[in-house]
């Protein structure tokens, strides 16, 4: 970052006669560790501070199980699930972003740019505005919308000889615009109150998120992240181009389909939980990649970065203007955007020297 490059030697861990082998990049390990520590610090602040005043001792007592009356509800029903939802959804968005940016070989290829998040938004707004559905129906609508749009984009981007990344990005941006106008149209057709609550959902908010949100996202992460890691091996090959990947023995179309399915599922589940929080899926993989200096998709650093970004943004959104807490989506744009611009500027600046 400071211009001095940390050169650490990588190594390979082999187990049981080459059946399991792991390549280890120390710098990624260090960055990952730092991200974890930062996430923990954010977590301590998120759980330890808030409008309901509790001393550090009271918070600790509550976690052990003998806090003052009312405090356990504040900690265990409000602050903890909100924090975990932020970490989980951020991680899901980070991994989804890393997968799609790798697949399309384009930083713009993240699900919030190529329409998948917008698709989820249309699904959810349909539920809020037209069917008047509750929390579960909204989540279902978001997941369905995300998958429907992903299927449409992938079908349209397909052509003989394989799907090309830039086609996914272009068609996805087209879809994104189309869906944004659909959402705007739906909002004009409903009452002021409904459209206001739909708007709040569209910015992305973690207000009132409880275990009913954390559990589905947690399960999705537990299932999908290992899938992503397994599929991530072919992702590294696909990054070199379809021909090279095919030559290296990767079944390109099938791997791509599996990766898309995992990525869309992660993005849709996160969107269902928080609303379409902007920028996390776009920025987290980019930030992680620059910090680790790694060449591959870096799924785990992206997950950690995404979680940290969303949790920190939510904390800032709640505390910066205490009288009117902002929805987290407003903050992620500001926090992630400024940092990414600084990184890019730094990079270009150094390259010019």
């Amino acid at each position: 970052m400071s211009g001095r490059r940390v050169e650490l030697r990588g190594g390979v861990i082999r187990l049981r006669g080459d059946r399991i082998s792991l390549r280890v990049d120390p710098r990624s390990m260090v960055v990952g560790g730092i991200l974890l520590v930062l996430a923990a610090v954010v977590g301590v602040f998120a759980i330890g501070t808030g409008d309901f005043e509790l001393s550090v001792g009271e918070v600790l007592d509550t976690i052990v199980g003998n806090g003052p009356p009312g405090a356990d509800v504040i900690i265990s029903e409000l602050r903890l699930p909100r924090l975990l939802d932020a970490l989980f959804c951020g991680a899901a968005l980070g991994v989804a972003g890393a997968i799609f940016q790798s697949l399309t070989r384009n930083p713009l290829g993240s699900p919030d740019v190529i329409g998948f998040t917008q698709g989820a938004a249309v699904g959810a707004v349909l539920q809020i505005a037209v069917f008047g559905g509750g929390t579960l129906a909204i989540a279902g609508g978001a997941v369905f919308g995300g998958f429907a749009v992903a299927a449409a984009v992938m079908l349209l981007a397909q052509r003989a000889g394989g799907t090309q990344g830039y086609r996914i990005v272009l068609i996805g941006i087209g879809f994104s615009t189309l869906l944004a106008s659909t959402t705007a149209f739906l909002l004009t057709k409903v009452s002021l109150e409904t459209s206001q609550s739909a708007r709040l959902w569209l910015v992305g908010s973690l207000n009132g998120r409880g275990w009913e949100h954390v559990v589905p996202v947690g399960i999705a992460l537990a299932v999908l992240v290992p899938c992503a890691l397994v599929a991530g091996r072919s992702l590294r090959m696909l990054e070199m181009g379809d021909d090279t990947a095919a030559a290296l023995g990767v079944s390109t179309e099938r791997s791509r389909l599996a990766l898309v399915a995992v990525g869309v599922a992660l993005a849709a589940v996160a969107t269902a939980s928080t609303g379409p929080v902007a920028f996390v899926a776009l920025a987290a993989p980019q930030l992680a990649r620059r910090l680790t200096g790694a060449t591959g998709p870096g799924l785990i650093p992206s997950a950690l970065m995404g979680g940290l970004l969303l949790a920190a943004s939510d904390l800032a959104a709640q505390r910066v203007f205490p009288s009117t807490p902002l929805p987290v989506g407003v903050m992620t744009g500001a926090v992630g955007g400024v940092y990414l611009m600084w990184l890019l500027f730094n990079e270009w600046h150094q390259r010019r020297r």
Binding site: G10, V12, I13, L22, R23, V24, D25, S28, G32, L36, G50, D51, F52, I63, G65, P69, G70, V73, I74, S76, E77, L78, P81, G134, T135, L187, T188, K189, V190, S191, L192, E193, T194, Q196, S197, R199, L200, S205, N207, G208, R209, G210, W211, V214, V215, G218, L221, G232, M240, T292, A294, T295, G298, I300, P301, L304, S323, T324, P325, P327
Partner: protein, 343 residues
């Protein structure tokens, strides 16, 4: 070349991440073990709210949090002095017409996104919500862990019924009865004074003067008050609308016309209806009428030619309904239609 650098940090790092997951799961299980509805001392009664939720309410709640405009209006009208509320719909602050009456009330966020923790810190006896406040079950669910959270009325329901319900929830049935009687008396007295304005066609317009104007159909509170007074509505404004207000094309500006136009400003009036800082008081309605004059056709309306365009407080006139809001509506009508105001 760079591509050959060994890198599989991801798999190696997944272990601490899984640990975190495990920790989270443990904490989650610990959290499920205890839940506590908060202490309510003697003198409770059971109550079933408009969504069929069964609740235990204090006989006469004192620390009241009203998370919507109609419930805040009702609580203030009943003399209950609510302790906290959210900003009004389409406005950055609480509804203009309620600001003075509500006194120095704590703000707990914007409509639909109340700050749960701040509400909990106020230790309320009862939390009032309705169809205009929040459709988000997950928020309602959290709120009800701290105080009985009463869903008073659905969107578009009769405001008078909602008012009676609120009085019931707050244990102020007698005050409620007195006020509804006072309302009926006032209706009768104004109706008797309408003279040649009896049965006049009243148009209600919500317009910032730029963008599209909107009119109110019959389900909101102000149109119901007009109905109580025996006044009629222009044909375009009869019947139920698809939502809160109905936007009108500038080419159909004649749909705004009537014997009288009551003209209020609220929000930016544009598509989407997000929160704006546009004030909704009478002064901004006057300003909006100034803009509206530049719209072709507005000055040709028969109400405009007759000098019958009345700037009003948009927050009260387009309110989902409240006792105090309707008093303001009646004030405006009494002053213009029943005050001997001739053509």
């Amino acid at each position: 070349m760079l591509l050959h650098r060994p890198n599989r940090s991801s798999a190696a790092l997944s272990r601490p991440f899984l640990l975190l997951l495990a920790l989270a799961a443990v904490l989650g299980l610990a959290a499920c073990g205890s839940s506590d509805a908060g202490g309510v001392e003697g003198g409770t009664r059971s109550y079933t709210d408009a969504r069929g939720t069964k609740l235990e309410l204090p006989a006469r709640p004192q620390r009241i949090v009203a998370l919507s405009e109609p419930t805040l209006d009702a609580a203030v009208a009943l003399g209950a002095k609510p302790i906290a509320t959210t900003a009004g719909r389409g406005q950055g602050t609480i509804a203009a017409y309620l600001q003075q009456r509500a006194g120095n009330i704590t703000s707990v966020g914007i409509l639909g996104q109340p700050n749960i923790e701040r509400i909990a810190a106020l230790r309320p006896d009862v939390i009032l919500i309705d169809g205009t406040a929040t459709p988000d079950d997950s928020i309602v669910d959290k709120l009800s862990k701290f105080a009985p959270t009463v869903f008073v009325s659905k969107n578009g329901a009769d405001w008078k019924q909602a008012f009676v319900q609120t009085a019931d929830v707050l244990g102020r049935q007698d005050e409620g009865k007195k006020l509804t009687q006072a309302y009926d008396d006032r209706i009768a007295s104004i109706r008797a004074k309408l003279g040649k304005n009896a049965g006049a066609e009243i148009s209600i317009v919500r317009w910032g003067g730029i963008g599209l104007p909107a009119v109110l159909k019959s389900e909101l509170a102000a149109p119901r008050v007009l109905n109580d007074l025996g006044l009629t509505r222009p044909s375009f404004q009869r019947g139920r609308g698809p939502g809160h207000t109905v936007p009108v094309s500038l080419e159909r500006i004649d749909a705004l016309d009537g014997d009288w136009i009551f003209f209020g400003a609220l929000g930016s009036g544009g598509a989407g209806g997000g929160v704006s800082e546009t004030p909704a008081d009478v002064a901004s309605a006057k300003k909006a009428i100034g803009y509206a004059k530049d719209t072709p056709g507005f000055t040709d309306l028969k109400a405009y030619k007759a000098g019958h365009v009345v700037p009003v407080d948009g927050s009260a006139w387009t309110s989902a309904g409240g006792y105090l809001a309707e008093q303001l509506v009646l004030d405006d009508i009494e002053r213009t239609l029943a005050g001997g105001a001739a053509r």
